[in-house]
Amino acid sequence: MKTLKKIWYWIDDRSGFTEIFSPLLKHLVPPGAKWSYVFGSATLFCLVLQVVTGVALSLLYQPSSAEAYQSLQFITHRAAFGNILRGMHYFGASMMIIMVSIHMIRVYLTAAYKYPREMAWISGVLLFFLTIAMGFTGQLLRWDSNGVWSSVVAAEQLGRLPFIGKFAARLLLGGNTINGHSLSRFYSYHVFIIPAIIFLFVGYHLMLVIRNGISEPPKVGRLVDPKTYRKWYQDMLKDKGIPFWPYAAWRDVVFGVGTIITIIILAIVFGPPELTTPPNPAHLNTTPTPDWYMLSIFSLFALMPARIESYMIIIGPMLTILILLALPFVSNKGERHPIRRPWAVFGSACVIIFVFTLFLLGEKAPWSPRFEAKPLTTANIQSSDTEINAGAALFYNKGCLYCHKINNQGGIKGPDLSQIAQRLSKGDMIIRIVNGGGNMPAYGGILNKKELTEVVVFLQSRK
């Protein structure tokens, strides 16, 4: 025992462990920093899990356009614990995005970004978008048909950049088309380039936490004054501060470990997202859908007025980043308590409702035709009339059913036509079908006169 102690003293003295880390661990933090302060560290816990599971995945993954898909099949179905490993990396990513979002909203609501913590906010905003970029590039590395088409979608978005759009798109894909260089590049973005930038900013973000201290819980009426704040903060710490380890850190550990365990349970119970078809860009019978954290944006692209869309695809995100970066310059002193900042609360609530609504809409995707619709059943047509039945067959064959609902069958892009005869006369129907309008193609050039009559007779029987 004595020798062990001696060995440890030698290592500690020559390596400087205690000297370096003890002040960091034991630095004083304001009292009362309770459970609302755990989300930043939970994000860090997730990041560490992502690094570890990511490195493990890289041991099994082939970053080659031709072979990545096969290696993913291997990881998912044959490698020992491979399925759970992929699941942990997937749910870890999801959890990291949730935690970083809650962390950011918490910081905004309690105005912790105000003096002197502006740079912590700015580095945090960049880290938020880098996290999203990691999620997106990670989805591409799944390199199934969804991954291939998602990268095309990303290239199209970059293509909307003024002047350099085509070059940026070409740079992203590693050429004019999806090819052998595409996946090598996505791998490099996801595994080397973006993580390197993340490490840099996380290190800086944490350094700032030590340098400026964590923000004290806000109190109504206690204003931040840049002239006196630093001195006031130091005096408060000397007076009432508690050592970070273990009096504040235990909550971070409890919540962080709970987060990790939740991720592992989700990975075991649900497993990773199933791969879709192989990454063949010539296989068109596929419906690209992004992972859940991109779904709100995906919905926005479907719903934005077409006239402004090409501009908003690129200006929108840029403007968002710019506004977020400008925040601590616009307001860096004064009240911090959310009760005295009702507009901040209202604005946050609006953003959350907006994103959540878009997410729910994205789940339903009412703007997409339902290609999987089956021909109308006789029980649904409810008629033995040959003309009505011919019209019903046409209603399916001509794609009407992809967008319109007849009772329990069909899509939801256009109006439900189960009882359309109550609303439209025969003449109105013909005008509508022939000319289209709104979001409906004009069928004048598609249906011949006989077909048109049959479709109208069928629709007139829907009462």
């Binding site: 356009s65 031709a66 291939v148 199209e156 085509k166 052998g180 997409s368």
Partner: protein, 168 residues
């Protein structure tokens, strides 16, 4: 000249020397590094005519999915070097090839033969059979690829994935 100003001169020289040498090394090392990063912009992709089928295999008026190899296929590209297009035989000696990429965000459009419409699964873009926009968010018509007939075979020219620009 007194000692202080000599020291100041020496200090200035050493700072310039160190920063200058560092910058020089960085620039030289950076050339191959940035060449790798910007390789896709430096290399020109050639254009090839790819055979997509015998003339007899296409009925007049019919639209068919054809698959061909990209211009920049590498040995390690595997199936990702394939591209598809919708090819229609308009007349005996006239073909039109439509890009399969929706002009909205590039998703794969499907030809619905009975309805004579191209439909996109992502955000509900619809095009008429001539490629013009029928419904949904696409800002412009489907892009067409060059085609030609040579020795009884139909050929399509390899083309970049059409990228819609902001002004479209």
């Amino acid at each position: 000249m007194n000692k202080e100003s000599t020291d100041e001169k020496r200090r200035g020289f050493l700072v310039k020397l160190s920063l200058g040498l560092g910058a020089l090394a960085a620039v030289i090392a950076g050339v191959p590094v940035f060449s790798a990063l910007f390789a896709p912009l430096i290399e020109k992709t050639p254009k090839f005519w790819r055979k997509v089928g015998e003339l007899d295999g296409f009925d007049i008026g019919a639209t068919k999915l054809v698959t061909f190899e990209n211009a920049d296929a590498e040995k390690w590209s595997g199936i990702t070097s394939h591209t598809a297009a919708w090819l229609r035989r308009d007349a005996v000696d006239k073909f039109t090839a439509f890009s399969a990429n929706c002009t909205h965000l590039g998703c794969p459009v499907r030809w619905e033969a009975e309805a004579s419409l191209f439909m996109c699964p992502c955000h509900g873009g619809v095009y008429y059979k001539d490629g013009s926009v029928a419904a949904g968010p696409p800002p412009k018509a489907l892009v067409q690829y060059p085609t030609r007939i040579s020795n009884n075979t139909v050929e399509i020219q390899t083309s970049p994935i059409p990228i819609t620009s902001i002004s479209a």
